[in-house]
Amino acid sequence: MRPRLCRRDLLRLLSAGAAGALGWGDVAAAHAAHLRKRGKACILLWMNGGPSQFETFSPLEGHANGGETKAIATNVAGIRIAEHWPEMAKVADRLAIVRSMTSKEGSHPRATYLMHTGYLPNPSARHPTLGSIVASQLAARDGGETADLPPVVRIGGRGRGDSGAGLLGMQWDPFELRAATQNPANTRPQVEPKRHLERLALMERLEGGFAARLPEEAADHKSLYRRATRMILSPDMQAFDLDAEPAEVREEYGAGDFAAGCLLARRLVEHGVSFVEVVANGWDTHDDNFSRVAKLAGQVDRPCAALLRDLDRRGMLADTLVIWMGEFGRSPRVNPRAGRDHFPRSFNAVLAGGGVQGGRVIGRTDAAGVEVVDRPVTVPDLFATFCRSMTIDPTVENMAPTGRPIRLVDGGEAVEALF
């Protein structure tokens, strides 16, 4: 077992004056203010690969395109969802189901970028991902204050492909966690905490000559090491410890990586993280769609519903927007391998919390599930809706390196019927 710093150790260190005398005490002491006033937050449940709308929240009853999937009733009269989602059916009164999402992008990487940033990829600008937008805007409102933990966390993602903070700068890049059950990389000092602080102090003393010659570079470095140290010595690090959660809560979320991710998302938001993305892989069901989606839903349904209930119980749902979506939907026509192919023309997304009124359905498609026939929601519309929920101004502009202003959201109109 590697050394681990807890609050008690810290207090002991501080009272012994060790850290203080070494100049790093203020870093540790800064935790007094560690509680970022818990405000708005957002959790994105990302269904990587493009989930089938028909086997999730837009079942197609009475048409051959619906395939073998049956619909079930929910706790809201008139709203029916696919049979694989019995737990979500019990919390449908918190859900806003958008059945009229529409885009034109059907390639995984490009659509993933589009649904994370609101923009199509373009070599001249790296658009910031939704998490970086939300976190930086919320921080700007709080006078630049962020929590001890990184403001944006992505759980179960696969590297940087989904885009990062882009032109907002590296400090808003998602902090990547391979799995919720595994400690975040390199966050435990390899030596006793006291010695760790002494090392930092030694580093700073040895840095004197460099700092005299290059004050700016030295100051940047110092600030970075202070932020990193503040994070790993923060009592908020206990948010990563899922074992601290009562057994009945863990039981409610269920088993598996995605369930652990949802539970961790709630803990992180409680500890001041502004945006958490939890990734569920495997939705690219070109073959054997029906049994594969049933199995995937078996891993996702329960934790999603548990997350909403849990947030609600803790009084956090009103301020926390939860988004369930993937990069596109799947073809109404079932292919010869019992699969469904990519289909951006009409698909779905689900929103809950963050001021969004539950128990509603927005938009619909024709009976064959092909064309959107009521209230089409474009990707910019959806992003404008996220902004409305987070009370962020979507017209705020950031500068691309070429000096071109880029709006947070490229036009679009929030779906007012959701609020």
Binding site: R188, R213, H221
Partner: protein, 542 residues
């Protein structure tokens, strides 16, 4: 050696002019700083303790230019700059599958640079590329944009001309002279590039081909891309802004800088051959200026223009006379890359002491400017400091060896859709390290700041902690402590290993003081080693 000498004269004059413009130029940097700077810049690593001692002992007044020559002749020069240009291209990829190109591209560029390929030849190779990406690294710009006509045009202009013409894609440029039609006429050199996709998963499943015959996309097999709904046509069309669903205007290929044009109907390879000729022509000053500005920015620390790849006739330029002289000399040398490095690095501006990036007394190239090291440089440097050979980290076939002890985030999976063969190139420790430390080298350098995961890796990574363990006999520190009884000399050796210089008397005193108050000699020196590897000096080239 006629040309380089000529270049050198030009540069000395140029540097003199720069000095005149600046209020108070910084003094010439000391020998140790110069050697570390030049070694990192040219061969991507710090000098070894033996190289440092030899350089210090060398009494030859011309030893700096001799060192530049020696480093330019080192095979690592080609590798270092191949990796640099690999990043220039691949950091702007709009399709993550292009990450599969990483290794073929690096190998291609290494081979070309080692073979003394001229910059115009390299540019031509990228612009006219065809074939399988696995065997033709020069298809990287096309692959990075997955064959999208407008994006390829934008990247060719950005990388080889330093002109961000794509800003005129949707409207006439606000601040520059370029008209919307000029962008689309330029894009009209590239509409016939197609990427054929075969079964399979690695880079070998793609092929860059010419699409010179109708009809292809008309059969409705391919979904036309949103930004150019008529791709698959033989001619590029400028979309109708009022109604993008209507057919656009067919554009004739025409080069916005010179007005040279081709008739509609010209074949793909003829089009690309012609635009390659016109872009790389000796009298196209933007081709030479773009590279001179880029290398000057990398080596002196800041470019003649604010943006490293955003230059052009409507951009503010500093010391234009030096830029023009260098660009002309570069053309006269036959676009000789090594000669350009030599010219810049033997000049005064390069050899001045460093001053902070935003410091006002750096204006007019009065000082060199510190650069945050690129991922490849830091990785090489970490291994060298702790005395681990990279080949020991990588088993046959590029797989990390068991027990190589990578930090967990360095075992990160590459993006989805990566087959086993393609994944392999991401699993090598160097590539995984770059997922934490990499940055786009075309970004303004003031935006490149360290990230928390970077600091955490250097502070807390378990393998690194093991590698600096002073109690183990097989670590560099363990051996040093066993063989060297003189603590002052241990301090000196740790400084040479990690910062490529000897410590000052104050630094020695601080270190010895720390060691004395530590529970053990090994612990004390571990702390010193840790502090040096985590210092700002370690990750910056000053």
């Amino acid at each position: 050696m006629e040309t380089p000498r000529r270049l050198l004269c030009v540069c000395l004059i140029a540097a003199g002019m720069a000095a005149a413009a600046a209020a108070a130029p910084a003094e010439r940097c000391d020998d140790a700083t110069f050697l570390r700077r030049a070694s990192l810049d040219l061969i991507g690593r710090q000098p070894t303790p033996a190289e440092i001692d030899a350089f210090a002992a060398d009494q030859d007044p011309a030893k700096r230019s001799a060192t530049v020559d020696r480093l330019l002749a080192d095979p690592a020069w080609a590798t270092t700059w191949a990796r640099y240009f690999r990043d220039v291209i691949l950091y702007r990829r709009t399709d993550d599958r292009a990450a599969l190109m990483s290794r073929p591209l690096e190998e291609y560029l290494t081979e070309r640079l080692a073979a003394d390929a001229r910059w115009d030849e390299i540019a031509r190779g990228f612009i006219t590329a065809a074939g399988s990406p696995a065997e033709h690294g020069e298809t990287a710009i096309i692959m990075a944009q997955m064959g999208e006509t407008s994006d390829i045009a934008a990247e060719v202009s950005r990388i080889f001309l330093g002109i961000q013409i794509q800003c005129a894609q949707c409207h006439n440029h606000f601040t520059d002279r370029w008209k919307r039609t000029e962008f689309h006429e330029f894009a009209a050199f590239f509409p016939r590039i197609a990427i054929r996709r075969a079964d399979g998963l690695g880079p070998e499943r793609f092929e860059v081909v010419s699409h010179d015959f109708e009809p292809r996309a008309r059969k409705g097999r391919r979904k036309p891309p949103v930004d150019n709904p008529r791709r698959g046509d033989l001619e590029h069309e400028m979309p109708d802004l009022e109604d993008p669903s209507r057919p656009g205007s067919v554009m004739q290929p025409r080069f916005f800088l010179t007005g040279q044009s081709l008739p509609l109907g010209t074949s793909d390879l003829e089009r690309r051959g012609a635009i390659a000729d016109w872009i790389t022509a000796d009298d196209n000053t933007w081709f030479s200026r773009a590279l001179v500005n880029r290398l000057w920015a990398e080596l002196v620390g800041a470019g003649f223009y604010r943006g490293i790849d955003d230059i052009g006739p409507d951009r503010e330029v500093e010391s234009p006379a030096i830029l023009d002289d260098l660009a002309m000399a570069f053309v006269a040398s036959g676009h000789d890359l090594r000669a350009l490095f030599r010219t810049i690095m033997t000049g005064d501006a390069y050899q001045r002491a460093a001053r902070s990036r935003s410091s006002p007394d750096r204006a007019g190239f009065a000082a060199n400017c510190p650069q945050r090291l690129r991922s490849d440089q830091i990785f090489t440097q970490v291994l060298a400091a702790v005395g681990v050979d990279e080949s020991r980290l990588v088993g046959p076939g590029g797989q990390p060896r068991r027990g190589a002890g990578l930090p967990p985030e360095m075992r990160d999976n590459p993006p989805e859709e990566m087959p086993a063969g393609g994944r392999r190139q991401f699993n090598v420790p160097r590539a995984m390290f770059s997922q934490v430390f990499g940055y786009d080298p075309s970004l303004p350098r003031e935006e490149i700041v360290g990230s928390i995961p970077q600091a955490l890796l250097l502070m807390n990574s378990q393998p690194l902690a093991r590698a600096i363990d002073g109690d183990r006999r097989f670590t560099a520190l363990g051996r040093l402590l066993a063989e060297e009884r003189d603590d002052r000399e241990v301090v000196a050796q740790l400084y040479l290993r990690s910062l490529a210089r000897r410590p000052t008397p104050d630094e020695v005193a601080t270190c010895l003081d720390h060691v004395r108050t530590s529970p053990s000699r090994a612990d004390g020196f571990e702390d010193v080693f840790w502090a040096l590897i985590n210092s700002a000096e370690f990750v910056n080239r000053n």
